[in-house]
């Protein structure tokens, strides 16, 4: 912008700052959407709130970090790049497998009990995972370089758009929409939705529902792992990175309507942007705005914006 030219403003806020915050909001929204999507898929079939989701998101970021360390041992820059792309594929698989093990060994034993026990069990698992990583790596963050193909950015005239952030937003939208298509438009998704409605009947049709439940849990937490990989270059890789995030994501899920796939995607992105705007216009409330919205939504629609029944 040439010197002397008047800075354009919206409601007294410089346009650049405004768009900058909206971009940050969109990035946060991408993570809210991916995490709450995983929670919703899990909740739909297993009827549990997966408290370990934040810890598994953190595990995904750490998996990416390990893969980077092993794949790019410092003498080949190109491998560093490969480390990121590989971890984008392998880290979610690793987290998903961890999820499958957790479901097979522990969660499975709780299905005949009150759903609250699932919440308490996954809370305990989250404590163990977070404590373990904190024991090894302390509470300070480990840096994770942006892969070289995604460094730099575009000057859009009204703002600077870093390539990596654009990548995160686009990629997460693709993942979210892909998940939606699989669940709502394919045969596999139809089985899944049917099993959500009436597992006994679906089982009577010869479909292996317990295995579907296991794989669904694995897929849901793999989404969290994927979000963790995406987050690694933006936030630092930190044992506590998922601990507070997950509480916000819970609120997002409540606002969107628990178990609603489209609800969690739309609400995730929207609330990220709303949070971004709040940071510009009333920064004091930026941490609480999502919880305030949640309270208001509950007063008007107890089942959430996209939910059917409470």
């Amino acid at each position: 912008m040439p010197a002397g030219e008047e800075i354009s403003t919206v409601f007294g806020v410089p346009v650049q700052a405004l768009f900058g915050q909206v971009l940050i909001g969109l990035i946060n929204g991408a993570f809210y959407a991916m995490l709450s999507l995983g929670l919703s898929v899990i909740f739909g079939l297993l009827n549990i709130i997966n408290f370990a989701h934040g810890a598994l998101y953190m595990t995904g970021a750490f998996a990416a970090y390990f893969l980077l360390q092993w794949a790019g041992l410092g003498y080949w820059w190109s491998l560093l790049l490969a480390g990121y792309w590989w971890s984008l594929l392998l880290a979610p698989i690793a987290v998903g497998l961890l999820g499958v093990v957790l479901e097979k060994t522990m969660l499975k034993r709780l299905y005949h009990l009150d759903h609250l026990y699932g919440l308490l069990l996954t809370f305990g698992i989250a404590l163990i995972i977070q404590g373990g990583f904190r024991n090894e790596f302390g509470s300070s963050g480990l840096p994770y370089a942006i892969p070289s193909q995604l460094t730099g950015g575009y000057n859009l005239g009204f703002m600077f758009l870093p390539t990596y952030r654009a990548w995160v937003v686009v990629f997460s939208i693709v993942v979210c929409v892909g998940t939606w298509v699989v669940i709502e438009r394919t045969r596999l998704g139809a089985y899944l939705r049917a099993a959500t409605e009436n597992p006994t009947l679906v089982r009577a049709f010869g479909i292996n529902v317990p295995r579907m439940i296991t794989l669904t849990y694995g897929f849901g937490v793999a989404l969290a792992g994927l979000a963790g990989v995406l987050a690694a270059p933006i936030y630092q890789v930190n044992p506590l990175m998922g601990a507070d995030l997950i509480i916000v994501v819970f609120a997002v899920v409540v606002i969107g309507g628990m178990g609603s796939i489209m609800g969690s995607i739309v609400t995730g992105f929207t609330l990220g942007i709303v949070e971004g705007f709040t940071k510009v216009f009333y920064p004091e409330a930026s941490n609480t705005v999502i919880f305030v919205i949640m309270a208001l939504v509950l007063l008007v629609r107890p089942a959430g914006l996209f939910g059917r029944t409470a």
Partner: protein, 326 residues
């Protein structure tokens, strides 16, 4: 048929006339006796911490054990009351009894607001929503001026209780804390064994039937919620004066998790379980303090073991062995 929380709750058979069964009276006497001797054999500050948490857990248990509602946001009441008590003692110079009362009243008010907004939801929804509200209180505490942010409110004066008892004397303070715990404990006991408590249990067992009998279920649940919040506040206010500190730790959601752990380990819906659980958990923290984050791992492991194999908790299993509700 899915089992619910109540299937693991060893609720005492309801009878208002014999409100104080003999074996419970005996257990109560043993508890009081141990707590009176305790400060002379164990570290009094540790005991006071455990007593505050025992009261907190008893208040929490009123909700999960007798109404079947799992609140994951009880730290809000403990923490908010702690801040108000600390602030009113330090800045306004209120005597300790009024400071604790101010904190307790704050928790009651907060409980009324949050309860009114959340009580209609149930199960996982209730847990989630209370958690979110507690997080609002947490962020408010981070940002508000009077809470001192990361530093908290430090060096809270303890003063003289009712102008007579010097709370700077460790043993005096201990017995005051013990008295507060016992009052809270007896209030919870009385509430559970009153007609009010019977209605709560009826609502827990079968809400539509309780409503069809003419009870306003939400009304009763809200009353239990406010009572639970109030007693949590009493614990928080007392804790702030004991440690002369109100900090963010007490409003953080990990604290909400900790009280769940205490109650679960001690025994959901048992009279003595929460107090036993609190002493075990605080004891563990005390011994494992040097181990740093191993403490978190141990707590997590206890959660997992309790949920998978030990759902009745210590006192729950004990009372099953003795075939008497404790």
């Amino acid at each position: 048929m899915t089992a619910t929380v109540k299937d693991y709750v060893v609720a005492p058979p309801v009878s208002v006339a014999a409100a104080w069964p003999r074996h419970q009276m005996l257990a109560f006497a043993v508890m009081v006796g141990l707590l009176v001797i305790a400060p002379f054999v164990a570290y009094p500050v540790f005991l006071m911490k455990a007593l505050c948490f025992a009261l907190f857990a008893c208040a929490f248990n009123l909700l999960i054990g007798y109404v079947g509602l799992l609140s994951f946001g009880h730290a809000a009441f403990l923490g908010a009351a702690g801040y108000v008590s600390a602030h009113s003692a330090k800045v306004w110079g209120l005597p300790p009894e009024l400071a604790i009362l101010a904190g307790t009243a704050t928790a009651a008010g907060l409980g009324l607001v949050i309860g009114a907004l959340t009580i209609r939801s149930r199960g996982i929804y209730f847990a989630n929503i209370t958690l979110a509200f507690a997080q609002m209180v947490f962020f408010f505490s981070v940002q508000a001026k009077f809470t001192g942010g990361e530093d908290g409110i430090q060096a809270v004066p303890q003063g003289r209780l009712l102008g007579v008892l010097d709370l700077q004397q460790t043993y005096t303070l201990y017995f005051v804390v013990l008295a507060i715990f016992l009052i809270g404990f007896l209030i919870v006991y009385r509430a559970i064994h009153s007609p009010f408590g019977q209605v709560l249990k009826a609502v827990r067992e079968n809400e539509p039937r309780a409503i069809s009998l003419g009870y306003r279920a939400e009304h009763y649940k809200l009353m239990a919620f406010v009572l639970s919040a109030t007693l949590s506040g009493l614990a928080g206010g007392t804790k702030a004066l004991v440690f002369q500190l109100a900090s963010l730790t007490d409003v953080h959601w990990t604290m909400s998790g900790e009280v769940v752990l205490m109650t679960l380990l001690g025994g959901l819906g048992t009279v003595f379980g929460p107090a036993v659980g609190a002493f075990i958990v605080i004891g563990l923290e005390h011994w494992l303090a040097q181990l740093g984050s191993w403490l978190t791992i141990v707590q997590g492991a206890i959660f997992v073991v309790c949920v998978l194999t030990f759902r009745r908790g210590v006192v729950g299993e004990l009372s099953r062995l003795l075939r008497k509700p404790l």
